[in-house]
């Protein structure tokens, strides 16, 4: 079926089976491999994307559900030349090790900070509870999220969740 949606700020039209998983559409049809598949069953959060600014699991979404939505993947959040403040905080605070969970973690953080601009460490830990990381022990991820939040508060500008 023909599906029209906004992907990282650009209107996109695809002709794909409506029951194709969104993670496959993104990775295989569009070539955006930033959304990772790790469990395929909604347990880990590695495939997190933003749908109209809210975090969703692309392994549990079907292509038809993209219709008319604004989708942000990690590729649309920032670039290496122009990192999003959350991405910048993740690099500076040592939140990245193997990095396979990181795209999902960063996008989940964008959603979290939009709902709660200055979360406590415990709120961050709970807010990111759906995103598993096997490398870091989460502490530096919490540091980075706190830093991104306080930086955003300092500059009094909202975090961009998509373009």
């Amino acid at each position: 079926m023909k599906i029209r949606f906004v992907l990282n700020g650009e209107t996109t039209e695809l002709d794909v089976p409506g029951d194709r998983r969104v993670v496959d559409v993104l990775r295989e049809d569009v070539g955006l491999t930033g959304a990772k598949e790790s469990c395929g069953s909604g347990d880990c959060g590695a495939c997190t994307i933003l749908v109209d600014g809210e975090s969703r699991l692309s392994c549990l979404m079907l292509a038809a559900q993209l219709q008319g939505r604004r989708i942000t993947t990690i590729e649309g959040l920032g670039s290496e030349a122009q990192l999003h403040p959350i991405q910048s905080a993740f690099t500076q605070y040592g939140a990245v090790q193997c990095g396979f969970c990181i795209p999902g973690m960063v996008l989940a953080t964008a959603d979290l900070l939009k709902r709660n601009p200055s979360p406590s460490r415990e709120q961050i830990r709970r807010g990111l509870g759906g995103n598993l990381c096997r490398c870091t022990g989460y502490q530096k991820i919490v540091d980075a999220v706190q830093a991104a939040a306080s930086r955003s508060a300092d500059h009094e500008k909202p975090l961009r969740d998509d373009k």
Binding site: T33, S38, A81, Q82, G99, R126, G137, Q139
Partner: protein, 788 residues
């Protein structure tokens, strides 16, 4: 906040996105260079390789734990439109055997199925959907055989044999060591404690499941990209299994999405190689599902460990008797090496004059036991460190003082007879814990537990060897190049699976050659481009490769300075210095840019290499050659002491880990961020090992094949962790460093078990300490009329 303790203070925020103009220094927390591509989603892991005209490959798994294979029925799948090939062992012209020490694992089963995850057929299809259908349509005729599913039954006389051709029967390897006399020593002990500990089978649960991509190139070269820790060894294994010349195979190892030992050896590699040989030059991708990773991937060995520890009334350890049974599953993988390292560490970091250690790695029809961060040491540390607390209790002695009394110091012989000639900072670690408020103020904290809550604190002492031991050379070969464009290329021979060694290599090269980050390029492990440098394992990566890299960089630096001095027509290259992008003649200020200098040098002159072999123990303790071949003994150890505070809910049995302190002697630190990452991440894994992680298996079938039933810690399951280094300079290490990758994994299980015992007076000998086990133990204690 989890409790009223303050979070660690945040460091100043760097506004710069990429610190490309920074010249690296040793000892500073530089942002990892790999983080930028990872955080923007642009990093290409093995799982991210696709490509024009690509084929999907997948495996038909046996699904039965022990059976003779009679035939594979491929016809139905082959008839399905979109199926390119269905391959069996008959399509393999090589040995069809893989393995690091003992080559006992088939690529595709030929004679016998030995566990449910065995690969019976390899299917190639145009797309994932067709592949899944074709795998379902492929079937096999088996003659089921009785299986062995525990180490006890596997060791019984007349037990079914997993490998009929193995001289040791179901004993893959028996390792033993005797020093002094345990028998007579018993008479000399004032106190004896005895226990049996059981630790579970555990999944690595890296986020990137086993993945790879392969293509047969026009020139006949087989190119394999894989998520692996061991590209150079993989090449030899694939060549042997498939009957190819190793030179025909090119292994490429991108950043791995986690590995922790589970990618130490072949996973998808031979299967992908075989698929590519039958794909008419089209690229082939294989990516195991999470379920497949659980069923077919390697695991941390489940273990049963018998301990008897004797001491004098003053607390000095006198004798230790251990028997270790490790379930290695159906294949060697690294099971023999794991049991050997377990044996070496089974007495912990203590002086014990009389020891008798015995260990068995036992074949069963369970999932494959293999390498997993900690590598056998996690299991024995769980046992020994609980024994120390049990002994302390019996002696009515402070558990920390007991450990300090027996702790190894530099110059001592450890309990397996090796003289500790390298830095040995255990006492410093224990003393730091002893001074810490989390320890000194624990009584007040414990007394404030709320209703139906009990609080406790637990400590452990740790040691972990680094490197391969005495026989297998622990060698790295570093290569560094001044490119024609005047930049620096660092050829990394050791995989970065997340531990951060690639970024550390950049830090070392940039620091020595005084080049800013933007001027340095890392070439990741690739058998055609980088030099063999061993596996990413054994807490060896930065120790061994870093030493080689320092040598290569110093050689290149001298060559650059000498050539620059020649061009500047000055006598002494001591008057010149490398600066970012150039060499400067210091007395005159004249400069020659590196890109100009490079035009005067040919390629071989612009390249420097250096080999480094890690030191080995020179003593020969009383063990057989077989055990030495499996890595016994080591000479270089990292040390640590951990402290944990827990709160146990008496109504639910839930153990809440409140605070964690780790003090480590891992030598000097090159990048504090990377050091902390390794410590914190290892502790989180250890907390999972202690409290929730257990691969449940029934008659060889995995019952917990997803992340909903095999529970790894989420962010709120991990407390704030304080990781203090005691930075003792290790003269043999790069900038004084020792390995940090594994040691902290070994601490949480015994520390938490000791804290639970401290809180509730119950000791649970079987881990993980799940709420139901804790609750049962609390009830049993109540029914025994214990104090409550």
């Amino acid at each position: 906040m989890k409790n009223k303790d303050k979070p660690p203070e945040l460091q100043p925020f760097f506004d710069k996105n990429i610190a490309g103009d920074v010249v690296p220094s040793i000892g500073i927390s530089m942002p990892r260079i790999d983080a930028y591509a990872k955080v923007t989603g642009r990093e290409r892991y093995a799982a991210d390789y696709y490509g024009f005209d690509m084929i999907w490959a997948g495996v038909k798994r046996a699904g039965i734990p022990h059976a003779r294979l009679k035939s594979v029925n491929t016809q139905a799948a082959e008839n399905l439109p979109g199926v390119i090939a269905v391959l069996t062992h008959k399509n393999i012209s090589g040995s069809n055997r893989q393995g690091v020490i003992r080559k006992d694992q088939p690529v595709l089963v030929d004679d016998k199925v030995r566990h449910c995850g065995d690969a019976v057929a390899l299917v190639l299809a145009e797309d994932k959907e067709t592949l899944a259908k074709a795998i379902k349509l492929t079937s096999a005729d088996f003659e089921p055989l009785p299986g062995v599913f525990t180490t006890e039954t596997a060791l019984e006389e007349n037990a079914p044999l997993v490998h009929e051709d193995h001289p040791g029967g179901n004993v893959l390897l028996k390792a033993s060591l005797e020093i002094g006399s345990v028998q007579s020593a018993k008479e000399h002990c004032d106190v004896l404690v005895e226990a049996c500990f059981e630790t579970p089978l555990v999944e690595h649960a890296y986020l990137e499941t086993e993945a790879g991509w392969a293509q047969l190139k026009e020139d006949g070269k087989l190119e394999i990209v894989a998520s692996t820790q061991t590209p150079f060894r993989d090449r030899m294994e694939v060549a042997d299994a498939l009957g190819l010349e190793p030179e025909r195979i090119r292994m490429i190892a991108p950043y791995a999405g986690g590995a922790f030992g589970g990618k130490d050896g072949v996973t998808v590699q031979s299967l992908l190689g075989l698929a590519a040989l039958h794909a008419n030059g089209r690229p082939v991708k294989m990516w195991w599902s999470r379920e497949e990773s659980f069923i077919a991937g390697t695991k941390r060995h489940a273990a049963r460990m018998y301990y008897r520890l004797g001491a004098k009334a003053d607390g000095s350890l006198h004798s230790l008797d251990t028997r270790l049974y490790f379930d290695t599953g159906p294949y060697d993988h690294l099971g023999g090496v794991v049991i050997t390292l377990a044996l070496e560490h089974s007495g912990g970091p203590y002086r014990i004059p009389n020891v008798s250690f015995k260990g068995w790695a036992v074949y069963t029809n369970n999932p494959i036991g293999g390498a997993f961060r900690g590598f056998g040491v996690a299991q024995v540390t769980a046992a020994m460190e609980q024994m120390m607390d049990m002994l302390a209790e019996k002696l009515a002695m402070d558990p920390l003082k007991l450990r300090l009394k027996n702790a190894v110091r530099k110059g001592d012989k450890n309990c397996v007879g090796v003289t500790l000639t390298h830095s040995t900072g255990l006492v410093e670690c224990l003393e730091a814990v002893a001074r810490h408020p989390l320890w000194t103020e624990r009584a007040a904290w414990k007394s404030k537990a709320g209703p139906f809550k009990r609080r406790g604190a637990g400590i452990v002492a740790l040691m972990h060897a680094s490197g391969y031991g005495p026989v297998v050379p622990d060698v790295a070969n570093a290569k560094v190049e001044l490119t024609a464009e005047g930049k620096i290329k660092v050829y990394c021979g050791v995989v970065d699976m997340g531990q951060g060694n690639a970024a550390t290599n950049l830090q070392i090269a940039g620091s020595i050659l005084c080049q800013n980050v933007d001027r340095i390029e890392l070439i990741l492990p690739d058998t055609d481009r980088t030099l063999p440098s061993g596996s990413a394992s054994a807490s060896r990566c930065t120790y061994t490769f870093g030493n080689a890299l320092i040598g290569a960089c110093e050689t290149l630096k001298l060559r650059i300075l000498q050539r620059a001095a020649d061009l500047l027509m000055v006598d002494d290259c001591d008057e010149t210095a490398l600066i970012p992008g150039a060499v400067r003649h210091l007395p005159t200020g004249r400069e020659i840019p590196l890109h100009r200098l490079a035009t005067f040098m040919n390629e071989s002159e612009r390249t420097a290499t250096q080999r480094f072999r890690a030191p080995t123990a020179k003593e020969i303790p009383p063990v057989g050659n077989e055990i030495r071949l499996h890595g016994f003994p080591h000479t270089l150890f990292s040390y640590g002491a951990h402290l944990v505070r827990v709160e146990v809910n008496e109504l639910t049995g839930v153990v809440d880990v409140k605070r964690y302190l780790s003090v480590s002697d891992c030598g000097k630190i090159i990048n504090p961020h990377v050091y902390e990452q390794q410590i914190q991440g290892a502790i989180a894994q250890g907390i999972g090992y202690a409290l929730s992680e257990e691969v449940q298996v029934n008659e060889g079938k995995v019952l917990t094949a997803d992340l909903a039933t095999f529970i790894i810690p989420a962010a709120s399951d991990v407390p704030e962790i304080e990781s203090q280094p005691v930075e003792i300079y290790e003269p043999s290490g790069p900038y004084g460093l020792k390995g940090v990758g594994e040691i902290a994994t070994n601490g949480p299980l015994p520390a938490i078990a000791n804290a639970v015992a401290d809180a509730c007076g119950v000791r649970i000998f079987r881990s993980p300490l799940t709420p139901s086990r804790v609750l049962r133990a609390l009830r049993e204690r109540l029914s025994e009329g214990g104090v409550h």
